[in-house]
């Protein structure tokens, strides 16, 4: 399958409040056509900064200090703002947590999407309107022609997020980046939007990076998962393998700290949640060695002294750990 995005050695530095630190460190990530890659982590993991770097939307206090972001024969890390603006929206579609980040509250939703088509695709007025109604139908907005003239505030949160998805897909981008796209939605609306993502994935197969803190959302949407901690990828693997048995103790801890809804006979007896002790260290004060070592049940002297690189494992998996949870055949 064709490579859509290739990130190598991405490092993003911040200078703020008199401190200089790297929020993203030496991140390598690749994405193929038709693939959904989830970027998972807690606050401060660097997942959103990684996405912002790809979108060319880093805040002023941040800059890419090393690495390349190869996308359609260009290095996005070296692109100027004007060139990046032409890529964004046309070749890379964006979906944010809060739909109103992307929508203009004073403009009707149909014309907002049409404007993107007229700008990037030089579509005429009638053709643009037709295309927008088709897009609204694609994202399952009931009665697209009637909704064309609605203002965002006349729509529910779920319908607004559908408009944002239509906007992101309008120019048939090669890459879709969705940053916590269902976090602000209620659970029944979230289920509808996740279902829409799965359907669109089957129908148009766009390559997608999904940024989320919610591992359940990952399981329901992504083919592959990269887990970030303190600015680095600590584990990457196919979804099925990760949920069946994660290699990194941090990933294991995250999975066991989720209060999963239990139905059936276990409904009255949820297990005790496993805590990960302590907190994420601030990026300007990372421990020597593995950043997770102070919270890790498996940490050894080596972990505190020497940072583990991201190492390859069977089945195309990667993990940065000196003591990974590997099922050894001789131990069975």
């Amino acid at each position: 399958m064709s490579r859509v995005l290739d990130i190598e050695g991405l490092t993003v530095g911040f200078e703020t409040g008199g401190r200089r630190f790297d929020a993203v460190r030496e991140v390598d990530l690749a994405l193929d056509g038709g693939e959904v890659l989830a970027l998972v982590g807690e606050s401060g993991s660097g997942k959103s900064v990684t996405a912002l770097a790809v979108m060319g939307l880093l805040p002023e206090v941040a800059e890419i200090t090393a690495g390349t972001i190869r996308f359609e024969d260009r290095d996005l890390a070296r692109l100027g703002e004007a060139e990046m603006a032409a890529v964004r929206g046309a070749r890379i579609g964006l979906i944010f947590q809060e739909p109103m980040t992307s929508l203009n509250p004073t403009m009707r939703v149909g014309p907002q999407v049409a404007e993107v088509l007229r700008l990037h695709k030089r579509a005429g007025a009638a053709a643009a309107r037709r295309a927008v109604e088709e897009l609204f139908a694609l994202v399952r907005i009931p009665d697209p022609a009637a909704r064309y003239d609605d203002f965002p505030h006349q729509m529910s949160g779920g319908m607004r997020q559908r408009v944002v998805i239509a906007l992101a897909l309008a120019c048939r981008p090669a890459l879709l980046i969705a940053d916590e796209p269902t976090t602000a939605l209620d659970v029944t609306t979230q289920a509808q939007i996740l279902e829409l993502f799965r359907d669109l994935q089957r129908e148009i197969g766009q390559a997608t990076i999904l940024i989320t803190h919610d591992l359940a959302v990952v399981a329901e949407t992504a083919h592959r998962v990269a887990v970030m901690y303190a600015g680095r990828i600590v584990e990457e693997s196919a979804s099925e393998a990760l949920f069946a048995g994660a290699l990194h103790p941090y990933t294991r801890g995250l999975l066991r700290s989720i209060p999963v809804v239990r139905t059936g006979p276990a409904a009255g007896h949820p297990r005790r949640l496993v805590e990960i002790p302590g907190t994420v260290p601030p990026p300007w004060d990372l421990p020597q060695g593995c950043a997770f070592a102070p919270r890790c049940p498996r940490a050894s002297a080596r972990c505190r002294a020497e940072r583990p690189p991201l190492m390859p494992f069977d089945g195309g998996r990667r993990a940065a750990c000196w003591h990974p949870h590997v099922e050894r055949e001789d131990a069975a």
Binding site: T188, Q192, A216, A219, G268
Partner: protein
């Protein structure tokens, strides 16, 4: 059986201004809600945004006065009690909010934040108060040297521990916790949920635990109540509700929760259609009828009341029996 709290027929309406013309309208945020909580029991209150669950919590601790109904706290109706009448009772019920930052004075030192309720209620002398505050800090997992810090020096999880320590200072019988862990990262969320469960077991206090996350609610609750558009649609003990939900809305809610199992990615799902209607114009009869797979003509005109289902749950539905 004596309850620590009994809510009977609670209702609350708000006047709102809508649209560009500034039309005045009334929203019924909570409509005839009744439940009871036994000493040492945790009742989880769940529902999607706008269902009225937070308004119920605020009426219970009398941050809001109900329009109608009773709030019986340890047998005494406080629904319309005056400030002076409430004052001595306030130490028996406390509230913990979603964002502890918003409810903690940013300039006050952490030690003083926990000491303040003891001072206000005239409990102990200075030495006794210091001892109690030190115990509370230790119990919620904060270090004694953190007493001198202000809230901004704490992480989100630590701020929530601080808010819990303050709520515990007066040894309450009931804590109303409104989304206490929803702003926290998942690894920290587990710490706070476990802490709240331990404290409850040790002290035998009761919680009204309000949250949108069904997994969190299942973990901490003994019984669970489900709200939809201002009304209670189902209330049952945890095991009954999660193993055999009766109300079509409860069933849909459970079906909608994402689970960390990739096999579900490929499985077709019964997704609930439509979205929660605006409380400005709630549907007639059963408020859930426009989205309900079981809806009949009767549901469009007659509001179902809570009735005992053979499973043991109380359910407000004409057709689920």
């Amino acid at each position: 059986m004596t309850f620590v709290l009994e809510a009977k027929g609670l209702s609350k309406r708000f006047a709102v201004t809508t649209g560009m013309g500034g039309h005045k309208a009334t929203v019924t945020a909570v409509d005839d809600v009744s439940f009871a909580i036994a000493p040492g029991e945790t009742l989880g209150l769940v529902g999607e945004s706008g269902c009225g669950k937070s308004t119920v919590g605020k009426m219970i601790v009398r941050l809001l006065e109900p329009d109608t109904g009773e709030v019986r706290f340890e047998g005494r109706d406080i629904a319309h009690a005056t400030h002076g009448e409430l004052r001595p009772l306030r130490r028996r019920f406390q509230m913990v909010f979603q964002d502890p930052y918003g409810s903690l004075d940013p300039r006050q030192r952490a030690g003083d934040i926990v000491t303040e309720p003891l001072v206000v209620h005239g409990i102990g002398d200075a030495a006794e108060r210091r001892r109690r505050v030190a115990e509370l800090f230790e119990r919620v997992g904060l270090r004694p040297d953190q007493m001198a810090n202000v809230p901004s020096q704490f992480s989100g999880g630590q701020r929530q521990r601080l808010a819990i320590a303050r709520a515990l200072a007066l040894d309450p019988a009931l804590i109303v916790a409104d989304e206490p862990v929803s702003a926290l990262d998942v690894s920290i969320q587990a710490q706070v949920i476990n802490l709240m469960a331990e404290i409850k077991a040790e002290r035998g206090l009761a919680y009204l635990f309000i949250a949108h996350d069904l997994g969190v609610v299942q973990h901490i609750s003994d019984r669970v109540a489900v709200m939809y558009l201002g009304r209670l649609v189902e209330i049952a003990d945890k095991e009954t509700l999660f193993s055999g939900p009766v109300h079509p809305y409860t069933r849909a809610l459970l079906e909608a929760v994402p689970v960390p199992d990739p096999a579900r990615r490929l499985a077709p799902r019964d997704t609930l259609k439509g979205e929660v209607p605006t409380p400005l114009a709630p549907p007639s009869g059963c408020a859930f009828h426009p989205r309900c797979p079981l809806a009949s003509e009767r549901c469009t005109r007659e509001r179902p009341l809570l009735r005992r289902h053979p499973s043991g749950a109380e359910v407000a539905c004409h057709n689920a029996f």
